[in-house]
């Protein structure tokens, strides 16, 4: 098969997949964001965050909530990367330099996820899982929350409330992204993707060269990375 044929086939398959899933997935997402019911896990999270899930916000409050969450996320990821040498599961990697930490934190926060490093030789398991993978979920959920708030702004009348940012964020992660990512990760593992806590395996080749085969939670990272149109990680 030529590259052109393969490319066209991929585009056609993507369009077919979108056509097949946009109604059921769209309906599911709409239900997720409009449901009056909160699960026990969600209520527990709201309690920890001090959020009243029934209280809708005006747009400035929604915007400030988003900014506050983003600022904390940025500081958290930057700190995690800078301090990884002193944290567990760093695999012996040193702290990421300030500029690269800044670049990585900013790009993961904004869902642009510019990877200017080799993930498996720069970041340990903790930074990958508690930093990059978490941002892969939350930055996608924040983007979805903004889209949902915008839609509410168009369709609602006689109110200045556009929903609750924290509820949209939690529901986007727990009800939409997490279930899909779990299914995606299992599919990737079934197809042979690596999913382990191994730091890597050194293989000796026939020509006498040492080759390190990457280990780590690759499948789970790749699932949410592709789902949230992200980059980075491995």
């Amino acid at each position: 098969m030529s590259d052109t044929t393969a490319g066209l086939l991929q585009v056609a398959l993507l369009i077919a997949a979108l056509a097949a899933c946009y109604r059921p997935l769209g309906a599911y997402m709409a239900r997720a964001y409009t449901s009056e019911h909160d699960s026990g896990i969600e209520l527990g999270l709201y309690k920890v965050m001090g959020v009243d899930p029934k209280a809708d916000q005006r747009w400035p409050v929604y915007a400030r909530s988003l900014l506050a969450f983003s600022a904390v996320s940025m500081l958290f990821l930057y700190g995690l990367l800078r301090l990884q040498a002193h944290l567990p599961w760093s695999l012996g990697f040193p702290g990421v330099p300030p500029a690269l930490s800044f670049n990585t934190a900013a790009s993961f926060l904004t869902n642009t996820n510019w990877q200017n490093y080799s993930g498996e030789s720069t970041m340990g398991h903790l930074a990958q899982m508690a930093g990059l993978a978490v941002e892969n979920f939350t930055s996608a959920a924040v983007g979805m929350a903004v889209a949902v708030a915008l839609i509410r702004g168009f369709i609602r009348s006689r109110t200045d409330r556009i929903g609750n940012f924290w509820v949209d964020l939690v529901r986007g992660c727990l009800r939409i992204l997490l279930p899909l990512a779990v299914v995606g990760a299992i599919a990737l593992i079934a197809a042979g993707a690596v999913q382990s806590f191994s730091p890597g395996t050194v293989a000796n080749t026939l020509t006498g060269v040492h080759q390190t085969i990457t280990g780590g939670p690759v499948a789970s990272q790749e699932a949410i990375k592709q789902l949230g149109t992200n980059g980075g990680g491995f």
Binding site: P60, L67, L75, P98, A99, N103
Partner: protein, 41 residues
């Protein structure tokens, strides 16, 4: 035309932890001010 390439050696840049805190703080403070400003309109 060549794309703008990032520096390969990040440690050679002048970024520091203090500068990160200042830049990040300034960015989010400015964003919050813009929200406040638009709210008043």
């Amino acid at each position: 035309m060549d794309a703008v390439k990032p520096p390969d050696d990040w440690s050679a840049t002048k970024m520091s932890d203090l500068l990160f805190v200042i830049l990040t703080g300034a960015f989010f403070a400015l964003a919050a001010l813009i929200v406040k400003g638009v709210e008043r309109l």
